[in-house]
Symmetry: C2
Subunit: 300 residues, 2 copies
Amino acid sequence: MSSSELLSRQNLTGLLDSVDTFIFDCDGVIWKGDNLIQGVSQTLDFLRSKGKNLVFVTNNSFKSRAQYAQKFQFLGISVSPDEIFSSSFAAAMYLKLNNFPPQNKVYVIGGDGILEELRLAGFTAFGGPEDSNKTVDLKQNIFFEHDKSVGAVVVGIDPNINYYKLQYGTLCVRENPGCLFIATNRDAVGHMTAWQEWPGAGCMVAAMCGSTQKEPIVVGKPSTFMMAFLLTKFNVSVSKMCMVGDRLDTDILFGQNAGCKTLLVLSGCTTQSALQDPSNNIHPDYYTNKISDMLDLLDT
Amino acid sequence: MSSSELLSRQNLTGLLDSVDTFIFDCDGVIWKGDNLIQGVSQTLDFLRSKGKNLVFVTNNSFKSRAQYAQKFQFLGISVSPDEIFSSSFAAAMYLKLNNFPPQNKVYVIGGDGILEELRLAGFTAFGGPEDSNKTVDLKQNIFFEHDKSVGAVVVGIDPNINYYKLQYGTLCVRENPGCLFIATNRDAVGHMTAWQEWPGAGCMVAAMCGSTQKEPIVVGKPSTFMMAFLLTKFNVSVSKMCMVGDRLDTDILFGQNAGCKTLLVLSGCTTQSALQDPSNNIHPDYYTNKISDMLDLLDT
């Protein structure tokens, strides 16, 4: 069993020397809900001043890249949409790179961000927020119609999940030949509010697995799809990348699956005792409380 | 690989001679949605005239036994509530037989029938339909309160599934020490209407598995809990029981797990080609189109 090193002045100096691209998870690393984590802004400024590329990767598919850029701006951090990789965007890129026929439609269980990214990529998408208030009256003689031209159902976190959406998605996956079932991610829970975790995309995706008895294609972390896309875009070597995240089973596994260096921060959902529990078998290279520890360790 | 015999005059005569109790699944065997399947009434009359015990077992937890007795009556069949075993009742009996402390509460994701059976068994239950119109405003500073005295979450089919219920159930299972997670059943889909299948309890149960990352205790078919209860109640030998159902992975497996004879009917969700597909490894003793084939085969 390998173990993880607590981040120190010495190993941090080595890390900064060997890495040119930092990939940050957002929730639990940059922010919690709508609150910036302490020292984040100064830490990002410092890394930029050292010439590092910064990439922000989020499994939360609720927003599009443009909507995330607005969130960064609202929190006082300047980030370009090009530096942001959300699982909503990954779903659209998966379809694009796999030559999804543009005449086929995409049904969405999830937020507006998925619809926005799919439409930006040239696809016809529907569902999502439009279906949030739809109800089903289970009269015996009703027949629930669905669009036979739907060729993919994309499922992400959906706080407006309902039976209408589940039936719509289930009928497409079960009855439309070859219909893809794509999960933006499978996070069990997420910080939808500042003080609590709430059911994440893993809940809605599992619901669809339960009714369709099929397993989805996952495009977000820890799947390597997004990393392969990043590597092509930035044209860098994985050995010069470091994944920084707060979750062992998504962020750290994602980095390790790709061959990156990995840094766990304890500012999100993983505690030090969970990291060091004998049942845990995912070990980041380094761990620290929060990303601004970098500044404290270097006395900047 | 064993194979199944098509029901014939000869093997039916042998079956009737050797069996004194028939256990019927309801949906797809007795009715489809709110429509009685052809010849059911006469078949049940015939079996009663032969002195057979009849038991009706349903995985659909939406109703209580009393509500199912009303449904039978509405369809023109006289059945006593004592002959009915629903998974809603099974959930209540599971708690009772396992000495669930009555001062603890039960949170329900599912229909009114679960609440009714739990209350009849002396438990304090809440949730279900009461929470169907509750919404969550994910403001950053809200805190979602849950009752710390909830000691079990029971999940069944819920056409009014929503994020409020999922968060409530998830918090109880994740945060209340020792809180049980009970599934009435895990059927992927069911005939909620006459012409179509809709997401079943397997969908809501999977959603809870996705957010809690725990597996439930299942009390309905194919778990043997209900059968053990039936055997005690009727004091009969399993070798003299025949399970009649339309689903391989719940009904037939349930009968086989218990050691009963098994009869598959093709009037519900299983087709002859699914039965005979090489990938199927669940083989009932007998199969036929519908239960009234018994009458035709015997020329009654």
